[in-house]
Structures are given as structure tokens and as C-alpha cells.
Symmetry: C3
Subunit: 140 residues, 3 copies
């Protein structure tokens, strides 16, 4: 069994946004040489997500609006007790739960075994600082 | 390490619905001969989910109502910008995020290592066409 | 390839709550002797979650309030059809979907390969009884 580990660094200039990291994950897979196995991709920070969906800017706009409705930003420590710690990012911890921490992707014949529209995204909900994404590949 | 890959085809006659695919996944596991390992099951389309919950029709009704409240169908391209592409399925992309893309199930002594009520479901949110589900098993 | 399986038993005295199970998972990893691989941790019950987020009591309060707003407790079988079975825990099945069933964690150099704040939690939404969590480790 082979194991291969890479860390991607994300640094969004904005508070929130979505970045297609499929090319980077494909490159890690190529370097690993694994033909059959599993590829885990996860945010290493708890106010960010890794998820699979469509590479379409209108949909990303919709994700942003929708998440803001489900888990609105509110710095008031009476609204979110987490913000009593001096942070103002409680909403980002909630948004990340909706979008998820990680994806596990099958590797078949040396490729990410994807359906026609599947792309891997990094989702940032409390940006303007460097955060890491882990890519772990195991297989043969 | 063994690796085994199968693709299930789902074709729901309705826009939305839930299908218990546990028997098909068990059959793939049997064919793989894997005794100890991991089984990934994921939707290969981005308006569908694979998740684990209860095989109870009342609950499935509740999932449908609840998802409609969290992420209502609305073809208006001013409500969901994704629908400016000519699609009307933005809500299905959001619903899929709540229910999830994939499950990873432990394989122990040749069986899906499940709790008493765990069953694997395919969740369709934009049906009436063929879609695929990937089952990837690795182990020994 | 090595495989190692452990079952943790959780028994919360309250209906709902969050328990940091990172120490137990670390101990299972130590016993496995795996240096490179993947660690799956999942709830074996469908009204509970395993997820990764912050070990901060204010945030856990916020999770509780937020989930109650997204999927309120309501024993009325006209509100949740699942409760026509005689159960009153439909809301717990929904809450578990938001928080997720499982996490997959990379194992690198014999450690859980975590970012600075990542901790593994058991989330209970219908407690006061014993439930199990599965820890499955594969690797070398």
C-alpha cells in the first residue's frame, strides 16, 4: 500500500469564497502514482469546507446567499455565545457544517473517478488569512 | 490490497425520492471478497445524495418537506442565479449539500459494519433521468 | 495492509449534547500501530453524529440553538410523519443530517493529521441511552 500526503495553502483576500481545487488534487494524485485507492481532501481549519458540486458562478452566489440565511453573520455575543471568546466568526463554524469538512474520492485507473460535473471546492467562510487543505491518498 | 469498483444506475420516475441501495452495496461487497477495509458510496451527480439514515417512509416524507423549507424550489433566475443558465434546479444543488454526497462504511469480517438501523440511501432531487452511484471498496 | 476496529459506547444523561472523543480515537490509533492510512469514525445510530469542529462551550451552545431552529423538536405526528411510528425523535434524524454521520481523518507518521483546532465530537440528539461509535483504521 502506498500513502501520499500533501498540504495546499489557501489564502483568500475576501471573508468568504469558493475556489476550485480540482487541478491541484489531480496533480497530487499524479505525483502519488496510485492507480486504485481513495483520496481524502479536507479543510484543516474549522471555519472552512471542502465539498464537491458545480463549477458555476451563479450557483456559488446562491450558496453564499443561502448560507447567510441559514447561519447569518452576527458579531453580537448574545446572539452567538461563541463570540464571547472575542471572535466574531461563530456563523463560519455553522456554515462549514452545512457544506462539510471533507470529501473522499475514488481513484480508478489512476484518475479521480468523477461523474460529469463533479469538481472539488474549497469553501472559505472566515478568510483573509492562510489556511491549509490536506490531500491524503492511499492505494496501489 | 484489493480494490473493487461498481457503478449503480438510478433512474427515478419522479423529481425527488429516496431509494434504499443497501442490498446492491452488499452485493458489490460480496463480489469484492474484501473482509477488512472501507467502502465508499457516492452520488456521481451533483443534484443527488448518498446518505445513511432510517428506512421509514414517514421520515422520508419529513426529509422532503424539511429540505423544501430549507432550500425551496424556485425557477426564478432572480431568486437563484444558477437558474440564469437555463436550468431550474438550483434548489437541488443546495438540498444535496444538506444530505451529503457520500458515505464511507467500515467493512469488518466481510460485512458492512452497521449499527442496528443504518441503511444506505440514494437521494434524488432532480430526477426523471439516469444517474450513477459509485461503489468503491478497498481492503483485504 | 493492517485493519483495526474499535467500538466506543456513549451514554449521555441528557437528550442532547456534544462529547470530545479525540482522546479515545487517539488511543485506538496508538493500539493499531498504523503509521500511514485513514481513520473512519462514525456514529452507528441514526439520531447521532460524529463531526469535527471547535472544542468551545459557547459554540456548542450555538450549535444546539441553531439546530433547534433548523429542525425543531415537535412530537406532533402531523408535523413530522416519522412520529406516527410512536417515536418523537424525527427532529433528531434531521439534526444528524446537518452535522453529519462520520469523519475520515488522515493518519500521517502515526498521528491524526489535524489542523490546529480540529477535534472530533460525538453529537447526541436523542440520548439517555447507550449508543455506539465505530473507529475503523486501515493502513500500514
Amino acid at each position: 500500500m502506498k500513502a501520499h500526503t500533501e498540504y495546499l495553502t489557501m489564502h483568500l483576500p475576501t471573508k468568504a469564497g469558493f475556489v476550485n481545487i480540482t487541478p491541484q488534487v489531480r496533480e497530487v494524485l499524479r505525483q502519488s502514482g496510485v492507480q486504485e485507492g481513495l483520496c481524502l481532501v479536507n479543510a484543516m481549519h474549522i471555519t472552512a469546507s471542502v465539498f464537491i458540486n458545480d463549477d458555476e458562478s451563479g450557483l456559488h452566489h446562491d450558496f453564499g446567499q443561502w448560507l447567510e440565511k441559514l447561519a447569518p453573520f452576527n458579531p453580537d455575543p448574545n446572539f452567538y455565545h461563541h463570540n464571547r471568546t472575542g471572535e466574531d466568526n461563530a456563523d463560519a463554524h455553522l456554515k462549514r457544517q452545512v457544506m462539510g469538512r471533507e470529501v473522499v474520492v475514488a481513484i480508478t485507473k489512476g484518475k479521480l473517478d468523477f461523474g460529469p460535473w463533479e469538481q472539488i471546492f474549497y469553501g472559505e467562510f472566515d478568510g483573509q488569512r492562510a489556511k491549509r487543505v490536506l490531500v491524503k491518498i492511499i492505494g496501489e
